[in-house]
Amino acid sequence: MRQRPRRQWHGVAVCAGVGIGPLRWVAPQAIVPAPRPIAAGAVRAEVARLRRAITDSRATLQQARAHLPKTQHEPRLLLDAHLLMHDDVLWVQRAVELIEKEQVNAEWALRCSMDIIQRALRAAEHPAVGDRARDVEQVGQQILRVLQGNGMPRWHIDAPCVLWADDLSPAQAVDLLRRPLHALVTMQGGSNGHTAVLARALGVPAVVGVRAGIPELSEGDPVIVDGFAGTVTLRPTAEECATAAARSQRYQSFQARLRQPTMGQGELPIHANIEVPEEIAVAQRSDAAGIGLFRTEFLFLDRRHLPSEQEQYRHYAEVVRAMAPRPVVFRTFDLGGDKLPGPRPTTRSRNPALGLRALRLSLRSPELLQPQLRAILRSSHLGPVQLLLPLVSTVDELVEARGWIARCRTALIAEGHALG
């Protein structure tokens, strides 16, 4: 047999690292049901069969959800979306009606119902809508598989490999979390789509949106996945392999070094800086010893209304709870300067970096500072919380800020809040 040539594709890099391994291509296993007439007397049983399949499919997803670590926020939300879709009357009812009126099998009725929704979605002709149509397809296909007596498709992966799939559903991603993977490639997906969210959750080098011809993907051939450059190289040269192996090594040892104690003074705790609660997952994955800096101003930016105390509390509580017993350092909002929230009119100054910003702005705007302090203090019963005041320039400012903190504390205790 002739040796096949080297090939390289470009896609969207969604998870950093370099992975090398044998190719494992999993073909899409779409079920294409055929219409089958059913007897009038069998209609009720057919409807019951559809409902049972939906219940079973739902249970499978729920089980997958239980296996998902709490920190995997985005994949969790995607699973929630798929769970909700199972119960949605809009298409379930339509499928039931089709079975009753047309006297057809449940598979065909469900397929027709999926098509109606997908046609409507695709009519919008917006790139992001493709993602929504794919979600409908994934949920529908899962129910179809149950109807045909097959549960969730398990990809049999025993040895470490580079997995190349057409697409990734939330349920499949959860399954892959426990399998040995060098890297992941998918044909579908873009930088912000669901596939990217799930690929990132796996924490292996990943490139999505790689449109390769299926006949080229011969099982077992070596592949290099470059999760920095977004390239995928099939049947690489010996030199490319050596370079990739060295880069992979370097990245891994870099990551490992982040966790190692330093020479001499024992352990040097490394904390993570975050701007939005969604970043906790990464912090936890890299074993951060805490959150060294939570830049809270990002909750205030790019929005019409300021976040209420309750909304801030929700975000802060999420971070503190996820990191406990490790500490979280909250920096009160550093607004002003180049960062201004939507609704607040502020005067422009010559050098905004030195002007009315950070703590100086906070102290002049107690209506902003007070709800934030209260929200932070309230989150302290969930784990260790520390406060960092940005840009203190005089002792008076510090004294004044401490006054506000003390007053908020007293008020909260009087209102019956438990504080840490």
């Binding site: 995607l78 979306a81 879709m85 949605d88 929704i117 409507a120 979605l121 929504r132 969604e278 929005r303």
Partner: protein, 94 residues
């Protein structure tokens, strides 16, 4: 019921990805927490806010104006909660 309220509010979708599955799931879950009947309207088309599929079918993008109708004894609270969710970009970063 004498204390039934009917309130309407308009909110602009401001997250980059629009009303996609995760966002729609959050909206449906928020709406489901209230007893009021809640509908979302876009360009004259109204869907049940508690139905994720209906929400997806609205094809909401960034910049889309959503008109929320809430009817029931907790309608005002429901409208506020749904509005806040939309305006907080469904909890998304961008």
């Amino acid at each position: 019921m004498t204390d039934a309220e009917h309130v309407v509010g308009e909110f602009v979708v401001c997250n980059a990805a629009g009303l996609h599955a995760r966002a729609a799931a959050r909206l449906a879950a928020t709406a489901t927490a209230y007893e009021s009947h809640i509908e979302v309207e876009k360009d004259g088309r109204r869907v049940d806010a508690k139905s994720i599929m209906g929400l997806l079918l609205l094809c909401g993008q960034r910049g889309t104006v959503l008109r929320i109708h809430a009817e029931g004894h907790d309608a005002t609270a429901a409208l506020t909660a749904v509005g806040q969710l939309i305006e907080s970009r469904f909890g998304e970063e961008v």
